[in-house]
């Protein structure tokens, strides 16, 4: 506590120096602005996410969730994937919600992970944004929804088949004693989830800001014109840029030199895995989990985007 107060006081006294130092250095001020952009943009969604996750902590116990979900795991995953359409937000909010739903793993684990991948990509807000960004290509909306849902389902089924509970090294705090009021349970859950998720969001936003400054944009623009190379470049770009899933459609629409299929890959990979999500998953679930889950999601997302894309929008 004393450390925090001392540090902040020092910063307050040095505020003018800090501000001028950042403003006079082009790379530093760009990185700072991009960092603030990613962080400030994510905060409202994160707050919505932790409010939902607090409500889940109060009203939805893992036992109750297991009773609601269909008995067969494969069907439960399917239900969770379609249910992802109900959370209007972007990917930052869905990580804490999924962590709450995940509980101790068990029966609901696979369904929670499917929900985490599906929610940011197929909810109505994101689909409308995609339709607005690609007014002449309504098939992009269809292809995006199909490919993202497919990715989420495959990862859910893969988890129920090969997932190991010991990869989950981060546990949620034990639910409070039954004497605590509902408000206290809610506030404690929301407080805990925000602190954890936002800390890792800082890490991810900083990584995105650094990459923005270090990697020149023309590298991607010149490499992306070839179809196969384009898929690889756009997938990497989706991970590196860490855009909000409500905005990525507009960015993809503006990359007119790239064929449609790589742009679809960009839209499918982005909400499922990027640097900021990786950091948040590592924080909420554990490093062993994120190190396996994120690369696997990356490959599955590329594959299902290519498969669905070739079928729906063709190799353009």
């Amino acid at each position: 506590m004393q450390l925090l107060v001392g540090f902040l006081l020092a910063c307050a006294f040095a505020a003018t120096t800090l501000r001028n130092g950042v403003a006079s250095n082009a790379a530093l001020s760009t990185a700072g602005t991009v960092f603030c952009g990613v962080f400030v943009q994510a905060v409202p969604f994160l707050v919505l996410g932790v409010v939902v996750s607090g409500l889940i902590a109060v009203f939805v116990s893992p036992e109750r969730l297991a009773r609601w979900l269909p008995r067969r795991p494969a069907v439960a995953v399917l239900a969770a994937g379609v249910g992802g359409a109900a959370l209007p937000g972007c990917e930052c909010g869905s990580v804490p919600v999924a962590r709450r739903l995940f509980g101790e793993g068990g029966a609901t684990g696979a369904a929670a992970l499917t929900f985490m991948l599906a929610a940011p990509a197929i909810n109505p807000v994101v689909l409308v944004a995609t339709a607005v960004a690609f007014p002449g290509a309504p098939r992009m909306v269809l292809a995006r929804m199909g490919a993202s849902l497919l990715t989420a389902l495959i990862m859910g089924w893969a988890w129920s088949r090969w997932g190991r509970p010991e990869w989950i090294t981060r546990r949620l705090p034990a639910p409070g004693a039954s004497t605590e009021s509902r408000w206290v349970v809610f506030a404690e859950a929301a407080r805990h989830d925000f602190l954890q998720a936002a800390s890792y969001l800082v890490l991810g936003a900083a990584a995105a800001a650094a990459l923005h400054v270090v990697v020149p944009r023309w590298v991607f623009e010149h490499l992306a014109t070839d179809l196969v190379l384009g898929v690889a470049v756009m997938a990497t770009l989706a991970v590196v840029l860490a855009l909000c899933s409500e905005a990525d459609a507009f960015v993809a629409a503006s990359m007119t030199m790239v064929p449609l299929l790589p742009r679809l890959v960009f839209l499918v990979v982005g909400p499922a895995v990027d640097v900021k999500l990786f950091a948040m998953q590592a924080g909420m679930f554990g490093r062993a989990f994120a190190a396996r889950f994120a690369p696997c999601t990356f490959l599955v997302a590329i594959a299902s985007a290519c498969a669905v894309g070739l079928f729906v929008v063709g190799g353009r």
Binding site: M1, L4, F7, L8, C11, A12, L18, R19, V22, A26, S29, T30, G32, T33, V34, F35, C36, G37, V38, F39, V40, Q41, V43, P44, L46, V47, V132, P135, G136, A137, R170, R171, P173, A174, G176, A177, E188, R191, F194, L195, Q196, A198, S199, V202, L203, A206, A208, A209, R217, L241, A242, L243, C244, E246, A247, F250, V251, S254, T256, G283
Partner: protein, 241 residues
């Protein structure tokens, strides 16, 4: 990190968000439309922090995690990471980085130039030379099938970009947040372009002029008739929607 420090950090993050929301600095990073959501987030965060602090005070001292044995272990395990939240507090409250400069935005020729996206745009607003945003002008040049810009003077605001082949009018466009910024630009030509040519980069101008049709696949040229210097607008970016 102790529980009381965590609460303080949570409170400060809320205050930081509230500060940039009230001061308007948040428009350097995200769209103005996010204002109510940012305000609500700040209120929720401050309320969560204050309620935790008051609960702890009522209990007499910070609540200790003594409910279960292994719980304490887990909490201490991942708590150091919360120190990272000091970074946005310092950056938002004390540094407040400036709005993006044009060199940091990705160059974009025209916003969207696929032929499939062509459509008839609604007619321009009435008046002698209606105000249009630069991204809208570029979209109309590239995609409008109704020729709404033909023979209509328009007024466009932007900053000076000196290039080897002449002077451009530019504007940084963001869609969602500063991470997706793009640079929209239009060449200046015509009788008044010489007035803009002598000015340093980043001088803000209001330019009246006409865009000749048939410039679909390149950066279009605005034939300027009058050029007026203006102060930098409060809102540094432009938004396509």
């Amino acid at each position: 990190m102790s529980r009381e420090t965590e609460n303080t950090v949570l409170l400060l993050v809320g205050i930081g968000i509230a500060m940039i929301t009230v001061s308007g600095a948040f428009t350097r990073y995200v769209k103005p439309g996010l204002l109510p959501w940012l305000a609500a987030s700040a209120v929720v965060l401050i309320a969560l922090a204050l309620s935790a602090i008051f609960r702890d005070i009522r209990r007499g001292g910070p609540r200790t995690d003594d409910r279960t044995g292994d719980h304490v272990h887990v909490h201490s395990h991942g708590a150091g990471i919360v120190w990272l939240l000091v970074v946005p507090i310092v950056v938002l409250c004390f540094v407040t980085p400036p709005a993006l400069r044009p060199s940091a935005a990705a160059p974009s020729v025209t916003s969207v130039s696929n032929d499939v996206l062509n459509q008839a745009f609604p007619p321009l607003p009435p008046g002698k030379a209606p105000e249009l945003s630069l991204p809208e002008v570029l979209m109309r040049v590239a995609q409008d099938t109704s020729g709404s810009l033909t023979n209509r003077p328009i007024t466009v605001t932007g900053f000076v970009l000196n290039e080897a082949q002449g002077v451009d009018l530019g504007r940084v466009v963001i869609i969602c947040c500063a991470a997706d910024a793009q640079l929209a630009r239009i060449h200046l030509g015509g009788p008044a372009a010489a007035q803009a040519a002598g000015l340093p980069d980043n001088t803000w101008l209001r330019v009246e002029g006409e865009v000749k049709p048939g410039q679909r696949n390149s950066i279009p040229t605005l034939q300027a008739t009058t050029v007026t210097r203006i102060d930098a607008p409060a809102n540094p970016y432009d938004y396509p929607h």
